[in-house]
């Protein structure tokens, strides 16, 4: 599904974000990527959605070599990879449903399709009763669930979660992780980038540890090592 081969990313000649990263993630896996701040976790996410270009090596997603991806192909890639972030990235002047529908609107989907898919994904994240609310009217956990719903509208094969629980209390954080696990059960590959020890240890799934831009550990059923 995802393959990193000797991937190297430099921000300047002496700032190495990723150094010779080799990684293989199979379809349907749930992988946690852990590491301290500034070790290259987010850079890895950015290279995967082609937000950052790599300086060496190769990245293949679902058989598609995205190492030298054209600018015009980037939107196609991003429709195949759902991404959620710590700060939710919702539009404050749109309702929760409109936020989800927006992802379909900007990709040219028809009204009929939007009216079917958007409420459906809101049901998946258990927010069908809050469609008309605005982001500021709901909790952080609910905002993150909207972000997940938005990431799911294109039925992505991969869901990238970059510190999705960073702004949440433990109850909301656990709800989000449970939701990610449910999504993973449907067959979606989930990559969770986090430095939350409790969550990683509770999951008992594959854990990849990054330190100074290098993979220092890759355990099939791992724990938070650092």
């Amino acid at each position: 599904m995802i393959r990193f081969v000797n991937v190297k990313k430099l921000y300047s000649h002496d700032v190495v974000a990723l150094n010779n990263v080799n990684l293989h993630i199979k379809p349907g896996e749930f992988v946690s990527i852990v590491g301290q701040s500034g070790t290259g976790k987010t850079t890895l996410v950015k290279t995967l959605i082609s937000e950052e270009k790599i300086d060496g090596g190769r990245i293949v997603v679902g058989g598609w070599d995205i190492t030298r991806i054209k600018r015009s192909e980037v939107p196609v890639l991003r429709r195949q990879i759902g991404v959620i972030f710590q700060d939710f990235k919702l539009l404050p002047k749109k309702t929760l449903l409109e936020n989800v529908a927006f992802a379909l609107q900007v990709c040219g989907s028809g009204r009929k399709k939007i009216n079917t898919i958007a409420p459906h994904v809101m049901r998946i994240v258990n927010l069908e009763d809050k469609l008309a609310r605005y982001p500021f009217e709901v909790s952080g956990g609910e905002q993150q669930r909207v972000a997940i719903a938005r990431a799911l509208v294109h039925r992505p094969k991969i869901l990238l979660a970059d510190e999705p629980t960073g702004n949440l209390d433990s109850i909301n954080a656990n709800e989000i992780i449970d939701l990610l696990l449910r999504i993973n059960k449907f067959g979606t590959t989930v990559i969770l980038v986090t430095h939350n020890r409790e969550i990683v240890n509770r999951l008992r799934r594959r854990v990849i540890t990054i330190e100074n831009g290098q993979i220092v550990s890759d355990q099939a059923v791992g724990k938070y090592l650092l």
Binding site: L77, R78, R79, A103
Partner: protein, 304 residues
């Protein structure tokens, strides 16, 4: 899908204009001011050209004839002159006609009228006024008339029109050059102001643009609302400048007519006749400035 995307881009653009109404108004007012100054410079150019053409049109050469020349001799000379190359028309002003015109012209100057009465005879001589085919042929014509041998001719008036018009041409050219420079300065100021306004607009849209990119919107779809906004700003400012400028010309026209008595300078008519060329050019220019500024701001600030 393309049609839906186009419609959505228009919708997003209109939403953006309405949500940031003050910013939109600032951009539109700046465009109106820039277009007004450009039209003003164009008007000066049109007036200059019309004046030079009118002066050229009025240029003629006069042959003053002897007082004792008979009507037949004068008409025969007139026919001879008409056959010369470069001559468009020859007008004969008889002594009586000249006197009537002279009296009419100086009717308010009692001293001249009294002097004329004391003379008790018509002091003016018959005149042949020769109009050249074109301003350019006046030199050759003057030479031919100089070489013309006729006992009827008393004197010839070949004023140095060429030099005078060269001066007018040179002043007009300098005004046009200055106008071009001022227009360029205004264009640069407009580009900078519009660019910075769009930069602010882009900055306020950074979050939305980032989300659009995140969820897989194509870069042309992200750019399209800004392109439409540019077109809408240009269209609205053009509508406003048409209304404002025609009002301005309506007010200006009587003053122009009073100032340029005897010359046919009608700016309103000129603008009506060349409406499409003048305003389509301005629309294209304003839209291009807006769109280029928007796209370049997007490239710099949102990396699209």
């Amino acid at each position: 899908m393309l049609f839906i995307s186009l419609l959505r881009a228009v919708k997003f653009s209109l939403q953006d204009i309405i949500r940031n109404i003050w910013l939109s108004l600032v951009i539109i007012i700046i465009l109106i001011l820039a277009l007004f100054s450009i039209n003003l410079l164009y008007t000066v150019k049109v007036i200059g050209q019309a004046t030079v053409s009118a002066v050229k049109e009025k240029i003629d050469v006069s042959l003053f004839l002897k007082n004792d020349a008979t009507e037949e001799e004068i008409l025969a000379l007139s026919q001879r002159l008409k056959s010369l190359p470069g001559v468009k028309n020859v007008d004969y002003i008889s002594k009586d006609k000249a006197l009537a015109a002279f009296t009419d012209k100086h009717q308010d100057n009692q001293e001249i009228i009294d002097a004329l009465k004391q003379l008790k005879r018509n002091p003016l001589s018959p005149t042949l006024i020769i109009k050249p085919n074109s301003f350019e042929s006046i030199d050759d014509l003057s030479k031919r008339l100089d070489a013309l041998d006729s006992p009827l001719i008393e004197s010839r008036n070949f004023a140095n029109y060429k030099l005078m018009l060269q001066k007018i041409d040179s002043i007009t050219a300098k005004v046009a050059e200055a106008g071009l420079l001022i227009s360029l300065i205004f264009a640069v100021i407009t580009i900078l102001v519009v660019y910075n306004s769009v930069r602010v607009a882009t900055y306020t849209h950074r979050r939305e643009i980032a989300i659009m990119r995140l969820v897989g919107a194509s870069s042309w779809f992200i750019k399209l609302p800004f392109v439409f906004s540019g077109l809408i700003y240009a269209l609205v400012s053009l509508g406003a400048i048409v209304a404002v400028y025609f009002l301005f010309l309506t007010v200006l026209q009587p003053y122009l007519e009073a100032f340029f008595v005897g010359y046919n300078i009608n700016l309103l008519e000129h603008y009506r006749e060349n409406f499409f060329t003048i305003f389509a050019t301005q629309f294209v220019a304003a839209a291009l400035v807006n769109i280029i500024a928007s796209l370049s701001a997007l490239r710099v600030y949102s990396k699209i």
